[in-house]
Every structure is written in structure tokens, then in C-alpha cells.
Symmetry: C2
């Protein structure tokens, strides 16, 4: 079974906006065993939309239309799909009444053009939309003797998700042959993509029945595994077996096999150990604290941090002696250690993290080039330092350094 | 003139990857007066790709194909476009030699399948790709008696941009009727989209010759203005006149009319005044410091910050008295003031910023609900406080609070 996703709206053809709904829909359709074979983005233009509708009906088993269900003249999806199918639209008084009630609940009067949102394609099932005035529609029928499923969904992401999850997943599952698909995601920290692939390719290439996708970005590699099976248990067993082999090969470079982010995992481990952490950042500029505190509940293990851009504040907030900075420079192993130990002492945290480096684009020297970063982790028994030379621009260097520091916390606590 | 953009690659039909090249291309094509009327995403599948190629040739003046120019069996764009045009491919020995030289420069030997990247569609102009082995191709010809321009571009974003900018913009400009298009962007802080639109719609609706697009997100509204003219000067004058009227209406809510971010603008003003800033953040968790330091050169005006999650650190790093926290609670006007004044005193900065609030999702109470945030700005003469109740989830509340604080700094320094 395959599908085409058609995103409708002239704003999606500007440089400013992009369809992102299709990523969510693709994930859900894949879960049902449906491959997405085309995505089309088309504006609020009657002929273009009619052409796109005909085309989707001719080449995909399932056509998902998103957007263009609003009340304005530009909202043409209902008309275009009805025309493509050669079916009529009729106005459903029950939908119009419910839109009127919706407006009335806010003390407003429905404007006349909203009535258009009650137009239903003959034979379609109306899909209630709890989040908005535009209901979706489900059509199961034939186009030129081919079985087709056609979905009309609202464009706003939260409305689209609610209507798809609550109204379409069950109906699709009932229509489609049963599918048993198991997936897992392994996340690997601080290893290059090619280095990782060189180690895992010999393993996943033997498991031909499991589809493996490698995604890499800024200090993280993800292995997405997916397989079909005669039963869910059989599929899950195959994926789980491959996960075990990959984890054995990659060891503690794997930080998650269940979708969590590195900041979440570092937080889990800190909580599990009843430990706390405080950070003193220079070049990462608060990004490490920001990532740690992006996790709800982080106040249980994150005491706080300092962003010590000036040398004076390195001393004020983390007790870094001026002589140390004068002797070794602000970007040095020694200052990273002093930051980590100083913030640990000042805060009373179990662990102290210190980061100092050159984020660029300016400020680099032959001895201390852009991308050079020292990361220190202080605990009761010792302080460890990792020196790195990261590639890329200011954003990338800052991200890599926060990633490296989180990984040091994770490894210390695991 | 109109264009279709076709992004090629099976990975673009997974839940994990998305075409983003088309946003850049759309911006550039719009500059040339070309509207994008369709975007198609298609996998590495011979029939699907052939169908997409035929379709694009039939419905758009310019067809831009991106991706599928690599050396593997899956890279089929050259073949599909040649077939659709009914033209042959021939292997260009000069391209093959240059790929061989490229490999040799790295001390590698070219593998046999790379030779395929030397296949050129009859009549095409080869577009050198300084960043990769796959050159682009430019074809200017006819399809069913219609004039067509066809571009084949590499998929990796930096290669696509380089080939398009250096090899295609000039050629397109020479082919297309001269276009004089002027654009401006106004950015507005801390005003709702509907509130903003209510004020500006009566103005931009009168300027019918200028196309106005409103984009809104997290504490920022953008007005994108665009017009054609008989000369660049005429177009620019029309846009500039509208900008003046809009700025007069919106006053100091407009923080940029030249594309800068709020953190950039706050930094400009601080530098202009020879002032410095330091921050003490609770609920924003380092995001404010992170945004300020994301700007290269921020060390000239940013001294540093503290992220004071625990009450103890509010006292250690910003001298907030324990009694104050006990009396008013950590989330209070009084503690925000104490944070701002404390960090200003400790750091010696011109301005001190204090933020305390409830980012959620937990921690809210009837008196202090999720989304309540106090922002304080301390200077030599006074300390001002803004209390807000932000909507949305943890990420949004944190973002809004950093946006509000940056806007207070901007307004103080402007």
C-alpha cells in the first residue's frame, strides 16, 4: 500500500513557510505499513489543485489532502477533490449548526462564509475536528476501477494530528491488511558518522530483514531500525536482536535505545544516583544550562550555573584565580579545571562542569584556534578534562561543547 | 514566469528528513520575478521520477531538479530528465577526468561508478560544482512547443547553493524579462499577531501594489513587504514609503527593519552606548544568556550571567536575601528585582536582568500559574519590572521570557 500527501496553501510556496505535517503523517502511515511515494505542495489555485488531486488519485492508493478546508474563497480542497472524483458536494446542516454553536459559545455570530465548511463530498464520512471549525472527510471508493482511500484533513498541525489520530488511524487499520512493524532507535554520542557506520555496517547488513537508516548531526548519530513480521512479537524480536548486537559493538557510546535526548538521559542518571550538578560555562554561553533546564523536573538535579564571559566573573562566580588566567590564558585546561572545581565548591553540587574555548568566528590564534574547547568535570574524587577541536561555525562549536559536557556527566553517573 | 521544484531522494519521504533547499531556491526565484507553483518530493524510483519529470515539464516554465546526481544506482535524475525530454546522455570525458583529479588530490582512486557523474544530457551546459563531485546541468529548450528551462542541481545544501548562485542566477537573469523587485522586513517585538494586524492592515491594504505577508511566532511578528516596479528605484521607493507609514503606526514596537534578530539589535544598542549587561535567570534556565552570546562579538557587552535554579544559588550568586524568598516566594516581583540588582552589583555591569517564573508543565499554583514570569531590569537610576502570563508549553514560556527581557534591554538602550 502506498500514499501521496498533498499539502495545500499558497503560503507553503513562499520562502517563509514549510509543510511539516507530512513528517508526522509519514511516521503514522509507516506504522500501518503504508509507504509514502510522493509529496506534493500546491497553492490555493483552482486548476493547480484540481490537477494535483487527479494526479494523486491516479498514482497512489491513499491520497491525504491537508489544508484548504477553511471558510474563505481560497479554501478549495473540498471542491477540487469532489470534481476529481466526479462527485457532488452537499451542505450538511448538522455541521453548519455545530459551527454556529461553536461561535455562539464564544459569544460570536457565525459569518455567512463559514457555512461553506459544512460542504461534504457525496458518500464521505465526516471526521469531527475538536480543535477547529473545519471537519475532516474520509472517502473510501474507486477511481478508474482502483480502490482508493481519500482523506481531507485540516491544515493547522494540532487539528491535523487530532483528526488523524482519533478519526483516521482506526479506520485505516481496519481497511488495511494487518501489519506488524517493530521499530527502535539507537542514539550514539560523540562519534562521527563514518566511524560509527564502519563499526555497525557489517552487523546491520547481515540483518537484511531489518531496514536500517543512519542519521547524523552535531555530535549525535541515530540508527533507526524497522522491520515487518508475521506477528508483532516476531518483528519486535528481530529488531531487538539487532539492537543487542549493535549495542554490544558500540558499548557505552550508545546513550539511548528508546528515543530520549542526551539531556534527558544525563538527568535520569543524576536522579537515579541522587546527585546534583552545577555548571560554569564560557564559550557555550549558557547553552549547557539551557539544555539541562529544558527538561521538566530538572530542578531536582540542576542547582544552577554561571556564564562567565569576562575574566572578572570567572573569578567572582567560580573562584578562578587571576594568576591562573594570566599564566595559561582563559582558554586552557587549567582554567576549565578551576571552573569545574570552583562551581562545584560554590554550589555544593555533586558534580561541577567547566567549559572554556574559542567558539569563533573571531578570537582564534595559531595556538588556540577557533573550535578548541576544554571540558572539565569535577567530582569529589577527581577532575577529568577532555580537550576537543570541533569543526564548524559558532553555533556548531557551542552545540558540540554542550554535547561533550552532557556526555561526560552521563558517563560519570551511569 | 513560474517554476516547479522537484526534490529527489527516498530519504525525503521518511519521517526523519525534509527538503529545505526549496525555501532558499524559492527566495532566489522570487527575486527574479519567478513564482513557484508546485513542489514535488519523489523517491529514488525510476518510474516515479520519470513521471515527476514529465509532469514538471508539462506544467511549469522552469523545472528545478535537486538531488539524485550521485554515483550510485539510486541516482537517476540524469536518466529520468533525459528520457522525459527525449534526449540522449553522453559521457563527458572532461568531467570524468576532473572527478579523477578530485579523488587524486585526496590520495584516493576514483571508483568506477563515479564515471556516471560525467553523463550529460545532449545540449546541456555543465555547471561546475566546486563543493562536490556531481556537476549541475542547465538545459534551455522546448518541450511540446513550450519554452522550458531545466536545471539539475546537487542535493547537499551547500553544493546546491553554490551551483545555483554562481551558475544559475546570472543565466536566469539573462533569460528572463528584467524584474525590479524591492523587499523589506519589519520585525515587531512583544505584540500579538491580531493586535498588530488590526493596527497595520488599514495601512498596507491601501498600498495595493505592495504584497504584504504577516508571519508570527513566539513574541515576534514579521511584516514581509515586496513589490515590482519599472525600475529598482521606483520599487524601492514604494516599499520604503510603506515601511515609513508602518513604522509611524507601530512606533518603538518595531525593533528591526533590516532583518536583524532581537539579540543582535539589543547588542547593537548596548555597544552604541558603551554599556554592558549581566543576567540572573531562573525559569529561562540560561536561554537568555545563550541567545545573547549566540552573537559573535557579544563579549564586548555581555559580562556574564547566572542560572539560579536553587534558592541557595539565588543568594550565592545574586545576593537575594533568604527572607525575601520566604516572604514573597521565589517567583515574585521582589525576587526578580533582587536578582536584577544583585547581578548588576556583583558583575559591575551597566544593566542587570533578573527573570523568575513558572515555566511548567508542573509547579503552577492558583496564585502563581504556569506561564507567570517576572522580568526585572536594573540600571543605575531605577529598576523596572514587567509581569507577564505567557501561554503555551515549557519551551514557549522560556522563549517568551527571554524575548521580553531582550526587549527591555533594547528599549532601555535605544
Amino acid at each position: 500500500m502506498n500514499a501521496e500527501i498533498i499539502a495545500i496553501g499558497s503560503e507553503l510556496l513562499t520562502p517563509f513557510r514549510q509543510d511539516t505535517n507530512s513528517l508526522y503523517l509519514t511516521e503514522k502511515l509507516n506504522e500501518l505499513g503504508v509507504d509514502v511515494i510522493f509529496k506534493t505542495i500546491v497553492g490555493d489555485h483552482p486548476e493547480h489543485l484540481a490537477g494535483a488531486a487527479l494526479l494523486a488519485l491516479s498514482r497512489a492508493d491513499i491520497a491525504v489532502f491537508m489544508g484548504g478546508l477553511g471558510p474563505t474563497e481560497d479554501d478549495l480542497t473540498r471542491e477540487a477533490v469532489a470534481d476529481a472524483l466526479g462527485l457532488a458536494l452537499h451542505r450538511d446542516p448538522e455541521i453548519v449548526a455545530s459551527i454556529e454553536r461553536r461561535f455562539a459559545a464564544h459569544g460570536w455570530k457565525m459569518s455567512a462564509n463559514n457555512a461553506k465548511q459544512g460542504d461534504v463530498i457525496t458518500g464521505a464520512t465526516v471526521l469531527p475536528n475538536p480543535g477547529g471549525t473545519a471537519p475532516g472527510q474520509w472517502i473510501s471508493g474507486q477511481y478508474k476501477d482502483q480502490d482508493r482511500i481519500i482523506l481531507l484533513l485540516p491544515g493547522p498541525p494540532h487539528e491535523m494530528k487530532a483528526v488523524f489520530d482519533e478519526q483516521c488511524m482506526g479506520r485505516l487499520r481496519a481497511k488495511l491488511p494487518p501489519q506488524f512493524i517493530a521499530t527502535r532507535v539507537l542514539k550514539i554520542a560523540m562519534m562521527g558518522e563514518s566511524q560509527c557506520d564502519a563499526r555497525v555496517a557489517p552487523i546491520y547488513k547481515l540483518a537484511r530483514d531489518v531496514e536500517t537508516t543512519i542519521l547524523a548531526g552535531r555530535g549525535e548519530v541515530q540508527l533507526h531500525l524497522r522491520t515487518h513480521g508475521a506477528s508483532l512479537q516476531a518483528a519486535q524480536q528481530r529488531v531487538d536482536r539487532l539492537v543487542e548486537e549493535l549495542e554490544e559493538e558500540l558499548g557505552d557510546f550508545v546513550f539511548s535505545d528508546n528515543g530520549e535526548s542526551l539531556e534527558q538521559i544525563a538527568g535520569y542518571y543524576l536522579q537515579m544516583r541522587g546527585a546534583t550538578v552545577a555548571v560554569a560555562e564560557s564559550c557555550s554561553g549558557g547553552l549547557l544550562a539551557e539544555r539541562i533546564t529544558s527538561i521538566s523536573g530538572s530542578s531536582r538535579y540542576f542547582l544552577g550555573g554561571t556564564v562567565v564571559y569576562s575574566n572578572a566573573l570567572k573569578s567572582t562566580f567560580a573562584d578562578v584565580p587571576f594568576e591562573l588566567i594570566n599564566t595559561h590564558g582563559a582558554v586552557s585546561r587549567e582554567v576549565a579545571v578551576a571552573l569545574a572545581e570552583g562551581i562545584r565548591r560554590r554550589s555544593g553540587a555533586t558534580l561541577g562542569v567547566g567549559i572554556t574555548g574559542v567558539a569563533g568566528p573571531s578570537g582564534g590564534t595559531p595556538e588556540k584556534p577557533v573550535g578548541l574547547v576544554f571540558h572539565a568535570l569535577a567530582s569529589e574524587e577527581q577532575t577529568e578534562v577532555i580537550e576537543r577541536k570541533f569543526p564548524g561555525d559558532r553555533d556548531r562549536v557551542r552545540w558540540f561543547s554542550s554535547q561533550q559536557a552532557l556526555d561526560m556527566v552521563r558517563r560519570k553517573m551511569m
